[in-house]
Symmetry: C2
Subunit: 457 residues, 2 copies
């Protein structure tokens, strides 16, 4: 039995045919699964029945790298549905699992984003989370050349806009107090107008009056999720995030991040247990360790060298590596780019450990920089337990290398072992809303807080 | 049997407790139906089973008129879900009915809008339509004060942006040719890059490179719907719309609009039968005419005078009428506003016929300016048939005064009579996609058209 009072949280990161970049070439995969609704419906129902707490969808507002020579080989896993429409569709075929969609603050309006998330939160009965990203993709800016004229904003500017964007969204989500509707048929009065609030936001980036035309949901408002691990990203997360999808390769880094974010949050007056840290992990498992390694190798063998190089180059922000020998080292003096800083750091760290370019891309092929475990159920769960009990994680965002096989393996082999050790509830998790599932508090409406203070005085 | 070769098309306009402004006060209604998912699921399934061709959702990006004294009485029917999230949720509980969502070109980015509609079109198997509006609501601008700083654009400017917005969306929807995916697991080549196209749009309002990161759907692209009846709106519709939701009070006006739009489209090189004109109609029916009129009166009695005045004032763009006697006439010299021109014209026309202010608001209460029929099934269907066979309509967008009662009445009483007369197919309509349902052609990808010409030469 674990020493921690809460059990560990489990997210499932949905993605076309799986998270390994060669997954679509695997004999068992349906190559175009990413554009088949029934594929996602099957995964969602399976994950809900198994007791996963959340489904998670990443996002991008471009077709990345269309000019790259390897484009026709690497595009496969990115081609899918838009997250909010897909999760809305999945909301009516599930009833308990959380639904977390990624959406960027750089290319949309706070009113539209607040409204769609609030609407889905209502539709799903309070099961929604917003993964706030700022979009490090340089191609995205080219699709939004009205205000920004196709130029990507610098990293710090993206975060300045993101902070204010979140502030506006959060105000809009508090437009309606929980008991605003009167529904009095006799008098004809529908609501108590004193409980409806404008946002009246006047900031550097946005002027938004409000109120939002969607009510608060059974969980008050969507759960705020973040993944940025740069200094800017970490600061925003400590101040505002309720769940964080981290990416670490070893327990030491995970623990450092975990304690850094939680203590930073405490300094800002937040309760550390109100931020759940969920590192991503890709798991290759089978009844025996040898079979698990064979499964892993089967996919690694499908990685075309051009695809591997392209993946590495992409994670480094588009640096050209095509002229370098695959079995030689990554140069020390890479040019600075506007890419995700956390991914760059990870790659440079691995390169410093002596990995060749080929070894680097094969290491990253599993899940683009996320932690990869290959082994028997006992070996895998030993590792997950060590991270959880060592306070490197409050749970995990699972990135199956292949769909559906990788998910089926997790459910058949890993989950029973997690239950046997008391790391997840034997009877499945409880809680109707996503907040309840994750052990997050209900966010009381600010107006009720103010009234409470006035009454207390 | 009708003389027209096609049968008439039937849309169902969803709206909280119904289209009559007092519907929520009716004893049979669930006052907060607009925010209950199961309400919409029930309506959608019922409409699909009955053979309706489409579901339709209007939209607004504000809570209108929060400062008006009657706000707490009139807000009821507007409070609901956001259309794209709601229709995505309904996509998985239906399988044949069309799904048409309204979205404004004034407050969103073409890439985001094109993407969400394309995604829902994929999710639903090609059943989606986009009702393009420019938002006449002055409150909406106050929620989007980044670029436009909270000022509503003038009518003509909104249409200039709308035309270019549609052009960009249409280009983005043609990013992928139908047979772009190769899915060749052996070679590792996922697609034929020569069949993927950028938009490369450089216009007055937008610079958008593309391509869109969602494929074309089984119907090619969403059906384009419009409702604007001003000169600007009519011109845009004749050039681009595939279905039009019109609002007329009598057959003469309906015929004039019908022939105007269709001949204008013909001048622009389009086939008139590729635009379906569907006037809105609210129907109060019962086995006998007397019962139908009693049903109508039951709801009219629930219209609070303040609500009626507010409705009239709102349709006139916010003109203050509160100081005028209810049983007196509407003044001739109303101030000019930025509101929907077609609605203003309709009201002025009715006022010129001698209707008092009270009579005006009661006339409009049924469906905010849409045609209202009160009578037995035979009386109602006589009218619908006259409009259809007289080329005033290709079908109707049905606005039940109450939900679910008004829909149940239509299905139980009107539909059998329409079938008996051969106006709708006795066995229900055929066609998998919305285009097939509406009798619209498949939009061949422009690249295939060019290739065809080259081959022919």
């Amino acid at each position: 039995m674990t020493q921690r009072t809460e059990t560990l949280k489990l997210g499932l990161f949905l993605r076309a045919t799986g998270h390994h970049i060669a997954a679509w070439r695997d004999s068992g995969s349906q190559a175009d699964a990413g554009i088949r609704l029934e594929h996602f419906v099957d995964l969602a129902r399976k994950a809900e029945a198994a007791g996963f707490d959340t489904l998670f969808l990443a996002d991008s507002v471009s077709v990345r790298g269309i000019d790259a020579p390897t484009f026709d080989r690497v595009i496969a896993p990115s081609l899918s549905f838009e997250p909010l429409t897909l999760l809305s569709a999945l909301a009516t075929v599930t009833s308990r699992i959380g639904l977390i969609a990624t959406a960027s603050t750089s290319y949309s309006e706070p009113f539209n984003l607040a409204r769609q998330f609030a609407s889905l939160d209502q539709i799903s009965g309070g099961r929604v989370g917003w993964n706030l990203v700022t979009s490090s993709d340089p191609d995205a800016a080219k699709n939004f050349g009205g205000g920004h004229q196709g130029e990507q904003a610098a990293h710090a500017d993206r975060y300045s806009r993101a902070r204010e964007f979140h502030e506006v969204v959060d105000k809009l989500w508090d437009s309606w107090e929980d008991d605003t509707l009167l529904l009095d048929k006799d008098s004809g009065v529908f609501l108590d107008r004193s409980k409806l609030h404008r946002a009246d936001h006047q900031g550097e980036h946005f002027h938004v009056r409000g109120p939002l035309n969607v009510l608060r949901s059974p969980q008050g408002k969507p759960v705020l999720v973040q993944a940025g691990a740069s200094d800017d990203g970490r600061a925003l997360a400590a101040a505002t995030a309720e769940a964080i999808f981290a990416a670490h390769q070893n327990l030491g880094d995970a623990q450092a991040f975990y304690s850094d974010v939680k203590s930073c949050a405490a300094v800002l007056g937040r309760k550390p247990e109100h931020i759940k840290i969920l590192p991503g992990v890709t798991i290759f498992t089978a009844p025996t360790s040898a079979e698990a390694h064979a499964k892993h190798q089967r996919l690694q063998n499908l990685v075309h060298p051009e695809v591997g190089l392209s993946l590495l180059s992409g994670l480094l922000g588009g640096v050209d590596l095509s002229h370098l020998p695959l079995d030689g080292p990554l140069p020390q003096d890479l040019p600075a780019t506007n890419a995700s800083k956390s991914r760059q750091q990870l790659i440079l760290q691995l390169a410093a450990e002596g990995l060749s370019i080929r070894e680097l891309y094969l290491r990253l092929a599993g899940a683009r920089g996320h932690w990869t475990l290959v082994g028997s159920p006992e070996e895998v769960v030993d590792q997950l337990q060590a991270w959880f009990e060592g306070y490197g994680a409050d749970g995990f965002n699972i990135l199956p290398p292949t769909y559906p096989e990788g998910l089926d393996d997790f459910i058949a082999l890993i989950l029973p072992e997690l239950k046997r050790r008391g790391l997840v509830p034997a009877d499945g998790p409880t809680g109707k809303t996503l907040r309840e599932r994750l052990g997050l508090p209900y966010p009381a409406h600010p107006a009720t807080l103010t009234r409470g203070v006035l009454l207390a005085v």
